[in-house]
Symmetry: C2
Subunit: 333 residues, 2 copies
């Protein structure tokens, strides 16, 4: 059973995921090599290589866990957290831990092994967004879970271990410290201004235009003012909404269009960079609707995070956000 352990000084929880079973020898350099010709567990025909699906979108009357799907969601075969059991919070002297309970699922985004997310038709991307929506609604019913992070690692340097296009979600029994800080920041601003801080950011960015990359009827894409990374990009819904899963149909359509637009621009601007994409949404069962505002963050992996950043969580970004935005804005697809 994986464990959640808390750093006693800073209060940060970590997942100690023994199920992933990395032994010391696994880290030696020559164990990093990929096995060529390995069978892809995410390709049609290999459904038996994944745990049974929890959701699939199928064109015809094909059977679960067999070919005929456009999209499948399966539990991660090597989950960071385990779906069964109680939290069993306990101390260990000065330290605190609980069982590593949670859901860890993989969204297999397309049957096509070699398709890049950015090359998928908008309709397929919209379906991926609907699968996120459907899984969040389902997992929200489990009262043990307090937060879901949906994320996508594209490329080995960004942490992807399987090439076949996929994203992941992790449902957690606690609200991560960084998410809590973000919510608290929004709450403080709201108590001062009685407005959502993200709505104010959207207004200012839209008016000035200098950090705007693209805009459509429902979404604004910007280089954030205090970008941690070069070409960090946020996609913000223009309509105030705290929960990703509460978006309307036309919003998912416009989001699919915007995601494809941004990722195509990024590919052109930076030569198909590896990237991490995350959806920042509200914790479950908390009253945050007035002041939190869900959004997407995309972080191309262009620089190595080094000692200074680990030591301080203080990032050095060598590219002006305004310059990154202009470059992305002016790129012709």
């Amino acid at each position: 059973m994986p464990e959640l352990r808390k750093d006693p000084v800073i209060g940060r929880w970590v997942i100690i995921s023994t199920e992933r079973g990395k032994r010391p020898m696994d880290y030696r350099p020559n164990n990093f090599e990929r096995i060529a010709g390995e069978i892809c567990p995410f390709c049609p025909g290999n459904e038996g290589l994944t745990p049974p699906e929890v959701l699939s979108y199928r064109r015809d009357g094909s059977s679960p866990n067999a070919p005929g799907w456009d999209l499948r969601v399966v539990p991660n075969k090597f989950p960071a957290l385990m779906i069964e059991g109680g939290l069993n919070r306990q101390g260990e002297g000065i330290f605190d831990k609980m069982n590593g309970v949670g859901a860890h699922e993989v969204i297999i985004e397309t049957p096509k092994h070699d398709a890049a997310f950015s090359s998928l038709p908008e309709k397929d991307i919209e379906n991926i967004l609907w699968s996120f929506h459907d899984r969040v609604l389902d997992l929200k019913k489990d009262r043990r879970f307090k937060y879901i992070l949906i994320f996508k690692n594209h490329g080995a340097l960004a942490g992807a271990t399987i090439d076949h296009p996929h994203s992941q979600l992790i449902a957690l029994p606690i609200v991560p410290k960084q998410v809590r800080e973000e919510i608290d920041g929004c709450k403080t601003y709201f108590s001062f201004k009685e407005r959502c801080i993200y709505c104010d950011i959207i207004k200012q960015e839209s008016d000035s235009g200098i950090r705007v990359i693209a805009e459509n009827p429902s979404f604004l894409a910007i280089s954030p003012y205090a970008s941690r990374f070069p070409f960090e990009t946020w996609i913000l819904p223009k309509n105030h909404e705290a929960y990703f899963e509460s978006s309307q149909k036309h919003e998912y359509e416009n989001l699919a269009r915007m995601m494809k637009d941004i990722l195509v621009r990024m590919d052109l601007a930076l030569g198909n960079p590896p990237y991490n994409l995350i959806i920042q949404t509200s914790p479950f069962h908390e009253l945050v609707s007035d002041f939190y505002h869900w959004h997407i963050e995309i972080m191309p992996k262009l620089t190595n995070v080094a000692g200074f950043e680990w030591g301080t969580a203080f990032y050095i970004n060598p590219t002006l956000p305004e310059e990154a935005a202009k470059f992305m804005r002016d790129i012709v697809a």
Copy 2:
């Protein structure tokens, strides 16, 4: 002039370092290649390729900025922050910024280009520690600075751009958010227990022994209970002290011995991994002596930080700290 910009939601400052001058085209994949046969600016005889030294340890009566040194400290030629000027705090609509004022220096640890830090004699490592001490005392006199981070990036994957052994320091006009949170955590514990939390951790770890890697008269090296990364290692002074620069001579001797011991073990255990090493010490001019406890954190770079971590600052560590500690403890040098 570089800028410090504040994320308006979470309150995190970032350095937008235009002096480093990364243009969008610099990130395209083929621009990552190293220039072979490039002249090393840190080698003896090439002193003219660095800014003039601010400190050097020399054997004979050799002149500054000429060969004959054992160790040199120079300003970074491409500094993330600029040493001159005032902070000039100002708003930009909803956003906040100030001038990127600070010191960014490079400690050239040895004249030998090919020496690994872990292969240096203990006496040389001790001298490196003394150079940290001397620079901190000097920079502390500048009342604009509130915090210094000393760090070492070893290997390209850990962010090093020059092979010649070196470490760096950055003096900042603000206390980074993560450091502030650590100090606050220590303060809260102290107000509850009237004891230093790190002293209590040292006591518990030393008694149980399961996460101890090595111990000498002045230092304890452990795998921390809630390690973020596999083989993360902390070196803690056994004697309570808030400031790195207030250590005694025998402590620097024992620290040099411990650092070499740990890095040799890490090289043997993990095949010369890239790593980041940071010294966590107290902010200047704050009354934290009772409850803060300086220490060193070493993070070998074995896994890629991915979307989940960026989205939540919630780390997944696939190796049990107890297993990492045992492996490091049992390695025979």
